[in-house]
Amino acid sequence: MSREEIRIGVYVCHCGLNIAGSVDCEEVAEFASTLPHVVLARDYRYTCSDQGQELIKNDIREYRLNRVVVASCSPRLHEPTFRKACEEAGLNKYLFEMANIREQCSWVHLHDRRAATEKAKDLVKMAVAKAALLKPASDIEVPVIRKALVIGGGVAGIQAALDLADTGYKVYLVEREPSIGGMMARLDKTFPTMDCSICILAPKMSDVGRHPNIELLTNSEVIDVKGYIGNFRVKVLKKPRYVKKDCSACGECSKVCPMTAPNEFDAGLALRHAIYTPFAQAVPSTYIVDMNLCLNKDGVIVCDRCIKACERQAIDFTMKPEAVELEVGTIIVATGADVFDPSTLPQYGYGKYPNVITSLEFERLINAGGPSGGRLIRPSDMKVPRRVAFIQCVGSRSNKTGRTYCSNVCCMNTIKDSLLIKEHWPETEIYVFYVDIRAYGKGFEDLYKRAKKEGVIFIRGLPAEIIEDKKTRNLWLIGENTLLKEPYKMEFDMVILSVGLEPRKDSEIIQRLLTLSRTQDGFFMEAHPKLRPVDAATGGIFFAGCAESPKDIKDSVTQASAAAARAGILMAKGKVTVEAITPILDVEKCKACGLCAKVCPYNAITLNKELKRVEIVEAACGGCGTCAAECPSDALTQNHFTDEQIIAQIDAVTEYDADKKIVAFCCNWCAYAGADFAGVSRMQYPPSVRIIRTMCSGRVAPKFVERAFARGAAAVLVAGCHPGDCHYINANYHTQRRVERLWKKMEQNGLNKERLQLLWASAAEGERFASKIYEMQKIVESITPEEIERAKKVFSKAGGA
């Protein structure tokens, strides 16, 4: 192969006007044709179309191309498409390279055609330089364990578990609470059809409990996740129920238990005992002891009333937490959402005025199985209210509370609630105070109309404050009707705050365990908002329900089924291919120092002290390349991201006008994805930056940075995931260490260390990326030619240009 003549074909994509709108594609193609080894360069309207792919295939055959470069969108989007096309034409897929001239060029420099075109040329030049050094490789196949883990037993988790189990896969369903059912179990009716919530959920819950393929782990939490797509090792902590499975749920224990506390399930509106079942339809129906409340702490039984009452001898206070280890191939995250706590909005008096309730408390009050037996009553005097107000957007769409998003469900939930009141007490006067009513789904508008027809009055304008009448406990709402431009002061018997949803307060734990990304709102981020809406960026992990964004029951179920299908595809195949991006060892150069083994996050490299050599387990390798960056004797490099390839890219950037450019090394999962996100969001930033993609920032060897400075680059950016969020467990800690060492070196040599910047940016932080480039542009502009020269001198000694 090495003797073979290198013949590169370059395709510059217009992407309609997405690229051609701000990049002169013909000019770029023409420029490409002048580059070494390029035998063919074309521009094409939609390269990813069938015709575009056919064109590439034909050219490969006709022009004997042995390398292909496509300059179009992000490789995160279409690299697989083009790789497949190459393979179909008989070209090894690792001989394909992409230049990202859309997300990272045309879309972020919409208003500077000249600069965008120049940058596109550079990006193509970098890709061609790398392409010339590409080597064929074959993927590694890894078996997929045909078992799935579903985290969260709300309606989404239930649906996902049932779908997978019905397909024939073993499913572990882990739920933190004593029963599955989640938020839906607490609702009275569902919109827009007004079905009884628990009536439609309970059969599904018992299906889960009975299903031979589902192992239900309630009162349990995931505490550790290791491994990778197809081969996760998950540790689950099963907290003790103190009641054995023999429990017949007769309830005799609860009757004699002397301890009581507000029932979480009923939002604190009813009492439960220390030994209890959260609700009648709970699955599993086994009772549970709340150890915080029970008198029997530290294994000493003080009170044995329940033990004596239990005929089946099912109560066992000696139960201990138990860690179970599961091996699964796929994971579905269905952890749901929390409800906004309105007591942080003092003007609404929640927590102070008894007759101000939340929509969730309303659900329990109107529910026949709830604490008031379905009678909607004012907590202050237990009377049925005659005038009721709903306040919308409580804890949603607000900068101040940090919940800037629309919670999706509250408008329809209020409309449903208002109709429920009208159904039972038609004389009730109902006012809804809103800013926008969002009735976007199937059947929603009809329900909205029905509410209006029933006489529910919708007033645009939220109350600024609620004042309670000391005598009657009625509530005064003071606000402005913004349609009439008139202030209102209205008296109500009861006010229902339509509270929004928010990310689970402890989502970081799951985020950290599964190395996921979150959006600015705090919900989990999908791999692609349109094309992979239920996949996490991390392979083998999928989302269902409110964990990904607030959604109603129908959407949660839809997404759950989609997630189950996506996970099923993986498991049906039974194997996944892992990219050939593992390290290559040059045994001659290796001095068996063991540094690579120390930094490997996966323990895929071990030092065999007896044989004085390192051993690599490819299947365990995650592909971060940190080992290659660490190796002091250049004995290790990373397949497809070899030292030569990356250096060729650096050299291509710095060939001309290096002193005006920023060389950026971005990790594939966070920083590069964040830069893509900036592009998708059309955030504009200076065109001086050239991004080199590595799988992990841990791949960035000091010599790369030194090389860039030695060749006169104005500034260098190293960007990766936030510490703790590294896709490769902890590889980016090494990045930090290396950059700090470089800073020290720059300082010692009298160089401006601001020229080297380190950025932690998640895939959702496009804005952070863009503002960093702005910041660095100022540095670039302030750098003097002397400074550039000094750096050249310092680093050419070390790195050697």
Binding site: D298, G299, V300, I301, V302, D304, I307, T318
Partner: protein, 278 residues
């Protein structure tokens, strides 16, 4: 708060003997209490119950319980109980005695009764020393513990009673401390309902004699030690059921069924007599 009402369990005790003579903070009272609680909950017929005890503080228990009882010579309660059980197998025979009595001078009786699976029940109050005679070192005194005869720390390895009982063939073996009184009562109930040789060790505070040498001057301090050090490990290996200052392994260790000595004896006798008569 009320007064001058009779304690509901007094009917199981010899009223004239109460209050008992045990020290303040002594666990023997709790063992007695748990025992009569169990009698009450099972509604045991006191006419069918025989309590046997040996020498030592807890030896007085036989005298306090309102049933037919023997207060026997030192180390011999199991021997007496064996006699009673063989003569009248329909009686419930319970030995309540101390660690010194049962395992020092009476050690042989214990292991052989367990080996033979004689259907008697043994409750041993383990207070780690000879309390009644002034606090000398005994077969259960932990290593390094201070007693009147080991002022520089005990150098004898103690018996692990539950391991000894299990190894000797007891069909039910449990250990609790006097703090685990609910479990103790439940265990005694089990013990009373079983057929074969059953044994419960009760780790019991002796603040006046043992405690005062070992920096635990009150019963409460000893009970707090039990609370902090106890680990419940039901059906774990009795060989590993250690008692150290840091850890007291408690729980049920053995629960099996096998034919009792008296059962086999009477069957054999019946068979022989039948053969003889034939």
């Amino acid at each position: 708060m009320m007064e001058a009402v009779e304690h509901p369990l007094l009917k199981y005790l010899r009223a004239a003997m109460i209050p008992h003579i045990w020290c303040s903070g002594c666990g023997n009272g709790i063992i007695l209490n748990a025992f009569v609680h169990a009698l009450d909950e099972l509604q045991i017929d006191l006419n069918k119950l025989v309590v046997v005890s040996g020498i030592g503080c807890i030896g007085r228990a036989a005298g306090y319980i309102n049933a037919d009882s023997f207060h026997t010579t030192h180390g011999r309660p199991i021997a007496f109980a064996t006699g009673v059980k063989l003569a009248k197998p329909e009686l419930e025979v319970v030995v309540i005695s101390g660690d010194g009595d049962l395992f020092a001078i009476g050690g042989n009786h214990f292991i052989h009764a367990a080996r033979r699976n004689i259907g008697i029940k043994v409750i041993c109050a383990n207070n780690f020393n000879y309390g009644m005679t002034g606090g000398q070192v005994g077969p259960t005194t932990p290593l390094e513990a201070l007693t009147t005869t080991t002022p520089y720390g005990n150098i004898e390895h103690p018996f692990n009673l539950v391991h000894l009982a299990a190894a000797s063939g007891a069909t039910y073996v449990a250990r609790w401390t006097t703090l685990h009184v609910r479990m103790l009562t439940a265990s005694i109930k089990k013990l009373l309902q079983r057929k074969g040789f059953s044994f419960i060790e009760v780790v019991s505070p002796c603040p006046e004699i043992y405690g005062r040498h070992n920096k635990m001057r009150t019963g409460l301090e000893m009970m707090e030690w039990f609370r902090e050090a106890s680990v419940i490990a039901n059906f774990s290996d009795p060989a590993k059921a250690e008692i150290t200052p840091e850890k007291i392994v408690v729980g049920e260790f053995v629960d099996i069924e096998k034919p009792t000595y008296e059962q086999l004896l009477y069957e054999k006798m019946a068979k022989l007599m039948k053969e003889e008569s034939e």
